[in-house]
């Protein structure tokens, strides 16, 4: 049973990696810094794993480790998305600036 489950996971991993590869090669160098902070926020999806551990109610040690994990993953979710938006807001074209000249 464990083997077929593992294979299913590998299946998803390979396909997701392929989609990621296709998409990210098309991101222009102009946006590489926002890309990095955006993918960083997306990989903070590990908050899901942290929540599962923190909420499992197994024992105190697990709960504490899980709670700290939730906090550090969540700081990336919120910080990552906010800072990406902050950066993207700055990218403007020439016409958009004509107003303040």
């Amino acid at each position: 049973m464990e083997l077929s489950m593992l294979f299913g996971s590998v299946y998803i991993f390979v396909l997701a990696g392929f989609v990621g590869f296709q998409l990210i090669t098309r991101v222009p160098p102009l946006l590489h810094t926002p890309l990095m902070s955006a993918t960083n926020a997306i990989s903070a999806i590990s908050v899901v794993g942290a929540v599962l551990v923190a909420g499992s109610g197994h024992d105190t040690v697990t709960n504490i480790l899980g709670g700290v994990a939730v906090a550090s993953a969540m700081s990336n979710v919120v910080g990552g998305f906010m800072i990406t938006q902050r950066m993207l807001k700055m990218f403007k074209k020439e016409e958009a600036q004509k107003g303040h000249k």
Binding site: L3, G17, L23, A41, G49, A54, G55, G57, A71, G79
Partner: protein
């Protein structure tokens, strides 16, 4: 149909929705005008995934989760609001460390709870998770220290370093394999985790600050792969998808960065770049010193700019250090008001992380259509009257084309030496981070203005306005 089943369907749908929204989010980033909308998609996806997880039947206590969510959000908001754009490389390194810390703690907690009851399959996933996670925590913190200047930016090496690192690496692999067959050996597991932390330090210490774009991208990739491994361990697809997207992104960026330096990943990781450069160049530099440098006064430089029709600005890390981006934009505005064409030439590894210069200039309201990539601008240098190099060094060093003995030989560069005049703003005659002499400075077309880049740019602005 009972309530439990409906809940389970909702959770599955929320994960599926989140995956699709993440992919749309990244698709948005392929163009500047769709990027922000893309990020909204990704944010909604993240919210969906978190809500779905909170509803999971296995989640029975909420105290730890709530404290973590609130505390983490507050820290995230504070970091996002307070980080200046010039500190973006440091913030990125720190966030890799935070992400990796979360993943590692989840792995350790899983191991602590299940221990010997883990099957070999799960042990493989948790092993990867903890190995990648732990080395990314300390590696990123060291990278951050180097970027901040808390730790010396030059490569730190000792005798037999590579041999030692390889030995440590194989010890880690050995312990990992042992645990796969005997998952119950808790002591081995914790020693392995601790050694992976040590490995992260040793792995980044020998790498010079100028190579940080590669290191940051690589650590980005590791953080993603660690999140992926968590997904394997917990049998959770959304974690696998999110981690794989991040892993792919980091990998592609590190490949792009390496290509832009004409170096292999192995050379960046094990080459201790600056060291090689120093020893190889010592005799050559004394010969160069006899050559003449032409120093330029501010009013002379202003005269050259007034008579120009096309000016290309080449920003480098020195611009970021001096925080000269706003002064540069003001300078460019004055030139443009005199009908002088102004463009910016962006080298892929200028600065300390991928896209560093673009973000800084965007912060100063430079329109992004004036930021030109290396391959497009290089053909335009012969028609350029003045190339203004601000705090860039290796990315404009002609030795990359002409001197097969140079450590940067073969690296694609911005060919500023093809323009009519080159003006270089530099703090002093000290060689750049890589410690390589730059013959561009001795070129008869080149003149130098020494001093802080921001100061000099402000003087240019003043001179052009009132001179």
């Amino acid at each position: 149909m009972d309530a439990e089943l409906i809940k389970q369907v909702f959770i599955d749908v929320s994960y599926l929705g989140a995956s699709v929204l993440f992919i749309f989010g990244l698709k948005g980033l392929t163009a500047p005008n769709t990027a922000r909308r893309g990020m909204y998609f990704a944010e909604v996806g993240m919210a969906l995934a978190i809500i779905g997880t909170l509803l999971q039947a296995s989640v029975v206590t909420y105290t730890g989760i709530l404290i973590g969510l609130v505390l983490g959000s507050l820290i995230g908001v504070a970091i996002a609001m307070l980080t200046p754009m010039t500190a973006m490389p440091e913030r990125t390194a720190l966030s890799h460390a935070c992400g990796a810390l979360a993943v590692t703690l989840v792995g350790v907690a899983e191991y602590y709870h299940h221990g010997a009851a883990l099957g070999s399959g799960k042990m493989i996933a948790i092993g990867f998770e903890v190995l990648f996670g732990a080395l990314t925590i300390t590696g990123s913190l060291i990278a951050m220290g180097k970027l901040q200047g808390i730790i010396k930016g030059t490569p730190v090496t000792f005798k037999g370093q590579n041999a030692f690192n390889f030995a440590l690496f194989f010890a880690l692999i050995g312990m990992f394999f042992y645990l796969i067959f005997v998952p119950g050996q808790a002591l081995v597991f914790y020693i392995m985790t601790a050694l992976a932390l040590v490995f992260g330090v040793l792995f980044v210490m020998p790498i010079g600050a100028a190579d940080m774009p590669v290191v940051i991208s690589l650590l980005n990739s590791y953080a993603g792969l660690a999140a992926c491994a968590t997904g394997f361990a917990l049998g959770n697809n959304i974690l696998i998808i999110g981690g794989a997207l991040d892993g792919a992104s980091g990998l592609i960026l590190s490949i792009i960065m390496c290509k832009a330096m004409n170096r292999s990943i192995t050379n960046v990781l094990f080459g201790a770049f600056g060291q090689v450069a120093n020893s190889g160049n010592a005799p050559a530099s004394s010969a160069d010193a006899s050559q003449r440098i032409r120093e330029l006064k501010v009013d002379e430089a202003a005269e050259i700019f007034r008579n120009a029709q096309r000016v290309v600005i080449v920003p480098g890390y020195g611009l970021a250090v001096a925080q000269a981006q706003h002064a540069v934009r003001e300078f460019a505005d004055i030139l443009k008001s005199k009908n002088i064409d102004v463009k910016y030439a962006i080298h892929p590894v200028a600065g300390r992380m991928p896209g560093h210069m673009n973000v800084l200039l965007a912060e100063a309201n430079v329109p992004y259509d004036e930021l030109v990539e290396m391959d497009d601008i290089n053909s335009q240098f012969p028609q350029t009257d003045v190339s203004l190099v601000i705090g860039a060094n290796d990315v404009v060093n002609p030795a990359a084309h002409s001197n097969p003995g140079s450590p940067i030989y073969g690296m694609p560069i911005l060919e500023v030496d093809k323009s009519m005049n080159v003006i270089v703003l530099k703090r002093s005659m000290n060689p750049g981070f890589a410690g390589i002499e730059n013959e561009l400075f001795y070129n008869p077309k080149t003149s130098m203005v020494f001093g802080d880049a921001k100061d000099t740019m402000n003087k240019f602005v003043h001179e052009l306005k009132h001179g």
